[in-house]
Symmetry: none
Subunit: 222 residues, 4 copies
């Protein structure tokens, strides 16, 4: 705000910032919080510790920023129909959770929910980011008449996200491995379950054959 560049002295190398963030994510993903060391990050990034502490006041803040840099990928695409939207979202989410990088988001969110502040509002930001994507998806569905107007949105989103999260949590290491190759197979039952309430509510008759079959709503129209 003061000016674009009244800076005196040597300007910061923007590449350094990137290398640090990448190294931070990499280190955390590989070794977890326990081995997430400032020295380690610095070394992997090929920089000195000064470069780190010039930019972030603490280890936590660094991790937070690194995380944010890499957490966009799970957005809900517009496929034209709620069912496919949800399936796509859940699949992306599952993939994200199964990826070390993505799981970091969960860990930080969980940690930040209780720890001695420090983490600031990381949790909030992460949660909001995902919530917005999901909310947008719902809004489209409402516009299309696929999602009943009065239906509360939050429980729907929380059940969806939560189901995928719990599902991952339930898997053992082998299961996680395999799940990466069979995302839809794992995700479908969950989506199916979560959608059943919504589906039922709209149209009287519906032929979405198969497993979703007759969660056919009370015949009456709305």
């Amino acid at each position: 705000m003061t000016s674009p560049k009244p800076a005196r002295g040597r300007p910061r190398d923007p590449a350094v910032e990137k290398r640090i963030l990448a190294a931070a994510m990499d280190t955390y993903a590989r070794t977890g919080w326990a081995a997430f060391t400032m020295d380690a990050v610095a070394q992997r990034a090929g920089v000195g510790k000064s470069a780190l502490y010039l930019r972030w006041p603490s280890k936590e803040k660094l991790l937070v920023d690194a995380l944010e840099e890499h957490s966009a990928p799970v957005l809900a695409p517009d496929t034209g129909a709620l069912e496919t939207d949800v399936l796509a979202l859940a699949t992306g989410l599952l993939r994200y959770f199964l990826d070390p990088t993505g799981w970091v988001a969960v860990r930080v969110a969980v940690d930040s929910a209780v720890e001695t502040v420090e983490f600031g509002h990381v949790r909030e930001r992460i949660v909001r980011m995902h919530n917005q994507a999901a909310a947008e998806m719902v809004r489209r569905a409402v516009r299309r008449g696929e999602f009943p107007v009065g239906e509360p949105v939050e429980p729907f989103i929380q059940a969806l996200y939560g189901a995928v999260l719990m599902h991952v949590l339930t898997l053992d290491p082998d299961g996680r491995e395999q799940a990466r190759d069979r995302l839809e197979e794992h995700v479908t039952p969950l989506v199916d379950f979560v959608l059943s309430r919504i589906r039922r509510d709209d149209r009287p008759a519906r032929a979405s054959g198969s497993r979703g079959s007759t969660r056919r709503p009370p015949a009456g129209p709305r």
Copy 2:
């Protein structure tokens, strides 16, 4: 069978174990992970560090056990009906998650899901413990005819637990504070949502093919 007891030498004092676990929980609850020091725990328990390391190989394991000691309360009671059972379970779960003690379980489970072994089967144990309680609840419901026989159980449980978990994750510190006094108010919408599919089942008609069958989007027009 439980104890062949060929034990030689001085037996471990069970009181020491208790004092340590209590001190651990106390210390953690008071000061959080940052100040959760082995020396501190030992001192508060009035024991030497040897007593700690004789029983637990690391700080993490100790914390895990300490919290396990306090995680029984979240079992699903038999209230006589599925709806009330689920409400009770979810309420207990919410209370548990809002308690620092309980939240640790989540953190540990999340951490252990990816960490380089280390935590080993902690996640497994925690998950199974909860799964069993829930499964028992469902079994009762099936016996009473409240839960359709073919209905897959896992998605139901995962959606339920996950919804509560995500709900807590969504709350900011203030929200968490308030939620402690309004458990049902927070839990009801979630339970309502999750149960909607089950409730519908007064009608037996159901043709759901096997799980995962059609990941093909509903053939219906758009």
Copy 3:
């Protein structure tokens, strides 16, 4: 004093004492003070720590006793002449110092000369033990007229012992190794040097003028 054996309860196993002492010497000789552990000694002796602490109040005392058990071997034999007596004594001493077990005596003596008491009068006992043997040898020499009557004994003994000690101290590990097979070769120059004063004295000619002069006994006979 109360009686030879009015002892009640199980009597002490005398074999235990021996095994402990042997194990103590062995352990110390092998690994030095650093690894001279009560647990290690107990284990090597195949006994419990109680057996140790029933007999010795501390690690130091145990070592002291163990040491004493094994420090007799260097006594001055009566070969009939001073020169050969001294050579034999010095040779035995050198062998003793080159043996791990014997060197322990030196170490303990040196340690005990300054440490916070604890070691008690070990040094004293060790020193006295050797002194007596040497004094006896000198007495014989005096009787035979080989050792001048007025000649002070202590400097002679101290120079003799000290020379051997320093000689060992000067050797590097290899040198020590070799010295074990060439005891006399190493010892002769030292004996030679130390004895030169004595030898000379049978002969009257003497020119020790200088300040040291008058500790020479008044020329008169005694």
Copy 4:
């Protein structure tokens, strides 16, 4: 040559080194080995333990260096005559051995003579340091014609040093105390004894063959 100085990073503060060595000597002198704690030294020096372990790999090495810093004073001065040189050397040596600081050198040398490597060449350094001083003294004497050319030097030095060492070893605590105030009184008989062989050398006549040559006892009559 001494320092190519390609040093990178912050250079070590030489003041820290000094403070640590001083604190080490101080702590040891005050409390003895038992209370010679790394933490204590660090605290007294006002530094962190890192500063200690950055320079010395273990407590022992630190002590060794600390005492080496204080062991210069026992060099043989050039007084112009062998007799006074030796007296001065022996007096200095006695004072050194009576000082806790100096005695440590002996302990370390004795320990290192057998220990499983560990101390490495400490013994060697200490021994050499003293040997050189004494050798220099002898060289001067030879130049002045006070010390016969063929006379073996090592036995002389070893007898001298050894006599003083044994003398100290013989003293009980009280004796040590008193000896500090009467150094010459204690040292003179020893010096006198050791020098007697050399002194005699106004008379060249000598029958003891060269050093190791005749380990056969002197042919002389008995």
